[in-house]
């Protein structure tokens, strides 16, 4: 499949602070790409560079086989949706939607057709005569999406569009954005720090930190096989449990304090060397409470019922461990439990390089 957006070795710096350094990223046509990372990781800067709102210090940006590195934002066939909605406060919804078309002198009839199409799609027909100040947050963001729609943008850029909404609306609009992508199949690039948005929306996620792409893969791969410790800790809520350990080759064990965990079933066990210091990572849902020859005895220290799930907290050698159980499970404080790990679903990282083994 051909690439819709190609970011080629770009660098960007604010004065002397380097935000992006030699970053490359290809986005396929019709793909939903999510740029995910903590604040300050450079994801919004990257999006602004693609939009042409910031000038690169090095590298190239290609959109639809066209080198747009020096082109104005308006000539890049993009539409952008901002976290703050960025609706023009003095214009009605209709004028907001048509602003871009009016700027290039589109005929009135064509404008009306496009507005009607977009407002039907986003269910904002009722709001066309209103000013942005008379709209709720969710409605405003719909209008902002509509503004990108009417421009027939080839690439949609979303800059944390749902961060200003409350939890319920966020889930609602997330669903609608996904539906929109299904119906339009445009290329979409979506910046967020919310891993749930990233997991639910993306075809591929690019996890970023300090201006570098840590891992670029499908949500499933990123969740199940995180490339390094950072990705493992950033993705998933409640987050992955980590135990500092040492590998014992002869017994195919890792040693945590004075406890031993059998990891003979780990997929890449042959890459481990004797006495290697590692970090053992396991997601809360991959820990079971059952007694077997490998289980570790421990106590319930805290219970967090979350409705669908119940989170049970315990600890191994002083490190807190969370276990995700069914909502119906019933444990009380100080109950003795035997915990065992799904080793083939765990991740083992090198202590120094923090890379997955």
């Amino acid at each position: 499949m051909k690439n819709s957006v190609e970011v080629k070795n770009i660098s960007f710096s604010y004065g002397k602070t380097e935000i992006l350094n030699d970053l490359s990223l290809d986005i396929k046509e019709g793909e939903f790409m999510v740029l995910l990372g903590p604040s300050g990781c450079g994801k919004t800067t990257l999006l602004n560079c693609i939009a042409g709102l910031l000038d690169l210090s090095d590298g190239q940006i290609w959109i639809e086989d066209d080198n747009v590195t020096w082109k104005e934002p308006k000539d890049r066939h993009i539409g952008m949706v901002f976290q703050s909605y960025a609706l023009y406060p003095s214009m009605t919804v209709e004028k907001n939607l048509s602003f871009g078309l009016r700027m290039v002198g589109t005929a009135k009839k064509i404008i009306d057709d496009k507005i009607e199409k977009a407002s039907n799609l986003l269910q904002i027909n009722e709001l066309l005569k209103r000013k942005p100040s008379q709209l709720s947050g969710g409605q405003r963001q719909r209008v902002a999406i509509g503004r990108a729609l009417v421009r027939d943008a080839k690439v949609f850029l979303f800059d944390e569009p749902l961060s200003n909404l409350d939890a319920k609306l966020r889930a609602e609009l997330r669903y609608e954005i996904k539906k929109l992508h299904r119906d339009l199949s445009n290329t979409m690039i979506y910046v967020t720090h919310d891993q749930i948005e990233a997991m639910t929306l993306a075809d591929r996620i690019s996890v970023m930190k300090d201006g570098l792409i840590q891992q670029l893969d499908t949500p499933k791969q990123i969740y199940n096989k995180p490339a390094n410790l950072f990705v493992a800790g950033f993705i998933g809520s409640p987050s992955m449990n980590f135990l500092n350990a040492k590998f014992d080759k002869s017994n195919q064990n890792i040693i945590v304090g004075n406890k031993q965990i059998d990891i003979s079933k780990y997929e890449n066990i042959n890459n481990l060397i004797d006495d290697q210091k590692v970090v053992f990572g396991i997601r809360p849902e991959n820990i079971n409470i059952e007694k077997n020859e490998n289980s570790i005895l421990s106590n319930v220290e805290l219970v967090e019922p979350m409705g669908a799930d119940t989170l049970v907290w315990t600890s191994i050698e002083g490190t807190p461990i969370s276990i995700r159980l069914e909502g119906s499970s019933n444990y009380n404080l100080n109950d003795e439990i035997n915990i065992s790990f799904d080793i083939n679903k765990s991740s083992i990282f090198d202590n120094k390089s923090e890379e997955r083994i």
């Binding site: 602004n48 939009a51 042409g52 709102l53 104005e72 934002p73 308006k74 993009i78 539409g79 952008m80 901002f82 976290q83 703050s84 909605y85 960025a86 609706l87 023009y88 406060p89 003095s90 214009m91 602003f99 871009g100 700027m103 290039v104 503004r147 421009r151 800059d159």
Partner: protein, 293 residues
Amino acid sequence: MNVIPSGRRPKHLTIGRIGMYCFILVCAIFFLMPLYVMVITSLKDMDEIRAANILNLPKELSFYSWPKAWSTACTGFVCEGLKPGFFNSIKITVPSVIVSVGLSAINGYALAFWRFRGAYFFFGLCMFGAFIPYQVMVYPLLKIEDALGIYSTLPGIILVHTIFGMPILTLIFRNFYASLPIDLFKAARIDGGNFIKIFLYVIIPMSAPITIVAVILQVTGIWNDFLLGLVFAGRDNQPMTVQLNNIVQVDYGVAEYNVDMSATILTSLVPLFVYFISGRWFVRGIAAGAIKG
């Protein structure tokens, strides 16, 4: 006596509060006193004024000083009252305000949104310009205007007011625009706006509050100006303030205090009117750090 606290807390009139009201009252009287004296003096005839009971109300109302101040009082050798000065002031103020506010809005917009190379330097230069006392520049500017052939003309005085208004106005516009969300500007750029289009269609419609502040500052500032009008306007375009001075500073004959008072009130009517209709906005302007005498 035990009252159970419930609902709105009762208000008590404390000694401190009474003291504060008294202080406010005294301040108000202090500042209103001169205005009171001016108004009643303008309504007395000269005999009553000579009786020197400055605070007494007039025994008999006489309005003759008002039309005299407006149309027949002598300013130097001409005796046409303040009327020509009033229209001169309007001819000076209106174009000066429009040009300086318009240019400053564009400057502020460019400084806030189009971060061109050296924008910070120009911003610093503006700050510097806003705080230089303009008396320093009067003589060099006079020589420049003379060389340009516009000294002592209407365009000459308009140019001077525009130049002196721009640093502070650019500052307040730039600060206002810097407080607008930058995303709006980004959205407009993606929507296809260029420098001028974004300014016209997106920025100007949002500029009403700060424009009102800027206009108030400029109208009052230019109307009240005396020095620049005296130096640059020329004999034919003397603003009202300069003519007022000529009426009050008589070298011969009798000083007609009632006419002086009427003339002074007439001259200050425009700024007074502006303050009254725009008090709220004016306070905002001061809060924005734009105080100018």
